[in-house]
Amino acid sequence: MQRIGVFVCWCGSNIAGTVDVAKVAEALKSEPGVVLSTNYQYMCSQAGQEMIKEAVKEHKLTGLVICSCSPRMHEATFRKTAAAAGINPYMVEIANIREQCSWIHKDMEEGTEKAIVLGRTAIAKVNLNAPLTPGESPVTKRALVIGGGIAGIQTALDIADAGFYVDIVEKKPTIGGKMAQLDKTFPTLDCAACILTPKMVDVAQHERIRIFSYSEVESVKGFVGNFDVTIRKKARYVKEDVCTGCGLCTEKCPQKKVPNEFNLGMDNRRAIYIPFAQAVPKVATIDADYCTMLKTGKCGVCSKVCTAKAIDYTQKDEFIEEKYGAIVAATGFNPISMDKFDEFAYSQSKDVITSLEFERLMNAAGPTAGKLLRPSDGVHPHKIVFVQCVGSRCASCAEKGKEYCSKICCMYTAKHAMLTRDKYPDTDVTVFYIDVRTPGKQFDEFYRRAVEEYGVHYIKGMVGKVSPEGNKLIVQGSDLIANKQLKIEADLVVLAAAIEPDKSARPLATMLTASMDTNDFFTEAHPKLRPVESPTAGIFLSGACQGPKDIPETVSQAGAAAAKVIGLLAKDKLTGNPCVAHSDEMMCNGCSSCEKVCPYGAITYSDKEFRGPNRTTLIRRVASVNEAICQGCGCCTVACPSGAMDLKGFASKQIMAEVDAICK
């Protein structure tokens, strides 16, 4: 029989405000095994912990139940306290009477009743707890960064500079991401390429960084410190190590009608291409969807003109397997599709464009060589209307847009307006906005300059409709401050499309067992205190895959993620979790269900000799668990049809005892 001590925490008024802690302590006194039940203002404080240690000594306690906040907050604290008091840390159970009780109840009576039930549940479990000892596992000193935008680049550089090896996996033929497509960056207006491309080169030249471009993560197995990752290197039909990036093939390829995704389809490229001049790696890629040679077997021009003999039409997808200690998700964002926003006539007029398309139009390396010309007729527009929050803050229209604020649009629209007025003072610029949000260093000053120095017309209100008429666009909107309806004849309309996480993030999150929110942004381990870690150990978050971010914020978060990765890789060994699976060989059928569902490959089967009736020997196929690899997820215990598999610390019996205690 256990000798259990129950310690009910007030958490100041956090718990005591809604839960009668004295009553809870009193009620739990009569539970089986309980020899002491008491309450205290702050159980996690030094004094509270001392009180627990004293009680262990005085009452010869063998198990502790702490009724306090979530175990995610202080389980580790109280386990340490238990260890210091000389009892096994796994003899401690937390009853969460704060997040799951006092914070969500208003009524003292109800809250108290529930707290008693939660306490009783934890006591029922401790009665069945057994001391556990954790094992250790090694750390592979190599990190994987998924996504080669500015977030991935910065994270990789920081980790590599600290002395660890890093691989970047980028699905596009070049690293650089969205930043490579931008023209100027707010609030300082320095050229995006000028500050990004040196970093891309740093990555390429770094002795500890490998770039897998035109590649995707195929599968992830393992756990923190020991991930086994398979990377699919898609066939680019060009030998990467032979191609010199001279670009001759991209000039001679006869297939000229391929929409150029780097310029968002506003011009064409060839079937063999290098996305942009500063691409890293600077290697050509054949677009198999358009290449005549790959589709019909007739052409071969690129192969003929290539002096380096780099073209290989027979190339196949290649699979690379590598071990990593840490994985960083840096999958970035995309503007949402404008298909559902017909009111803005995006699909009807070429002269209604998104802000990212506007970036390309303003960019010296873009389809118009940096001249601001209308996509429809190549004429310079004299009246431009910018519409903000297209699909952002769209609470009422969640089926087409996003509820959240995309964060970057106010600033880049101010930038676009300012750049337009700066280069073309003859152009009239109007911005429709719901609110202008400019929290950030030098941000509001930037916006004020657009309004005050550059004479951009800011109108509070939304645009209801854009309709093409002749070569004009009729913009109907409301001016909420003047309280009147406006009708503007514009030459060009620019939509600040909301941003959303890249579509590759959802399947990746599933592979990484990392959690996501309803918008498919990766969830952080703690929104304030652990913002760059995923709740899954060993998985870190960098950049806009965690939430909308501008460049300065992305770069700081990328550095923070790198710091966390470095902290992990610097360790030689990780202390494991002793709450691992264990198979009862006498009950195991050998069916392999557990082996199939184990995400970590911790289960193996072998034929073992058992004693049969009448001095016979039976050979049976039974499962065994490698405790160093097992992460205690419990999948196997559910899959096991015979109940041979159980989880230490979370045995089916313990969980049933908890359920029984709740239902009593």
Partner: protein, 328 residues
């Protein structure tokens, strides 16, 4: 189609026994009545000639017997498998439950088995003998001999036969059949169409008749645990008496969950139930749902196949989608 007869099976078995290829034969033998056929392990031709039967009541699915039988001798055992039995055979191999090397499997065709309770509905009690055939000759104490068309008295599982094709064998006798489009989910759909209260009443009525004889578990080729949870003192449900009317159902619901994704729908559970509870409907509901949620999957169709419930693919639907599908 050439019919496979009792004599042909005995001939096949005696040849294999004589060759030394096998030393035992898993076959059928008459029980107390000619419609009450039970499995039997034959070791010589003489006893086969005397007792071996084959016909419209040779229901027993031998696959499960192989678990114990293959451990008894170093030699192979001969087993006759009807098409539906081969699915259980493969499923057990998938779960590593017996050594394939120790079995010589002969696939035999099947044109359906006969449900004696359906005959009784026609002729009443007092059946003395039943002779297999397309026209079944039934002799009763009171009415003499009656002829009944076999198609009218086929067992439910044979009316809704899912496959006449063997998915495993070493040797095939007779002609190979095909996988069929069966209406086996129609009954499930009817249950699904009920309101929750109606459905509860339906199962309450059916399952309250259960006498916990464990026949369904003992015959089930998916129930092959070394120690069943219902016999495990650590499980907390060992030999537990039902403390209320709902707990009567727990045995069957737990069992249906345990075999979900592994049940081949062989129908043995319903056949052996002395209380005529349509237990196969519970399992079919799971099969139907698995097919709807993860795409068609037939347990036992392939050795080593990954059942959707113990597999993960990126295309798997999210739990919320499953709920929506269910509601629509």
């Amino acid at each position: 189609m050439q019919k496979v007869t009792r004599e042909m099976l005995i001939e096949k078995a005696s040849a294999l026994l004589a060759e030394g290829k096998v030393d035992r034969v898993l076959g059928w033998k008459n029980g107390e009545f000619s419609y009450d056929v039970t499995p039997f392990v034959f070791t010589d031709v003489e006893s086969m000639k005397k007792d071996f039967v084959f016909g419209d009541f040779a229901f027993a699915n031998f696959s499960k017997y192989l678990i114990k039988e293959t451990k008894k001798s170093e030699n192979k055992v001969l087993v006759f498998l009807k098409p539906c039995d081969t699915y259980s055979f493969n499923q057990l191999l998938t779960e590593h439950r017996f050594n394939r090397e120790k079995v010589y499997a002969v696939g035999i065709p099947c044109d359906g088995m006969v449900d004696v309770s359906k005959i009784k509905e026609i002729v009443g009690d007092g059946i003395i003998s039943v002779e297999s055939g397309d026209l079944i000759k039934v002799e009763t104490l009171y009415d003499g001999v009656k002829e009944i068309a076999k198609k009218d008295v086929l067992a439910e599982r044979c009316v809704n036969c899912k496959s006449k094709k063997h998915v495993a064998y070493d040797e095939l006798m007779g002609e190979e059949g095909e996988i069929l489009d069966s209406n086996r989910f129609d009954e499930v759909a009817k249950l699904e169409a009920m309101t929750a209260d109606e459905r509860y009443a339906f199962w309450q009525n059916e399952l309250s008749r259960c006498i916990r004889c464990n026949a369904c578990r003992d015959v089930c080729p998916a129930c092959t645990c070394e120690k069943c949870v219902f016999g495990n003192p650590n499980s907390g449900v060992e030999n537990k008496a039902a403390s209320n009317s709902f707990e009567e159902k727990m045995f069957h619901i737990i069992r249906a969950f345990h075999v979900a994704g592994r049940c081949t729908d062989c129908g043995e559970c319903s056949r052996v139930c002395p209380q005529n509870i349509p237990l196969h409907l519970l399992n079919r509901k799971f099969i139907k749902d698995i097919n709807a949620f993860y795409g068609d999957y037939q347990a036992g169709e392939e050795v080593g196949s990954r059942a959707p419930l113990t597999n993960y693919t990126k295309e798997d639907l999210e739990p919320s989608e499953a709920v929506n599908k269910e509601e629509n």
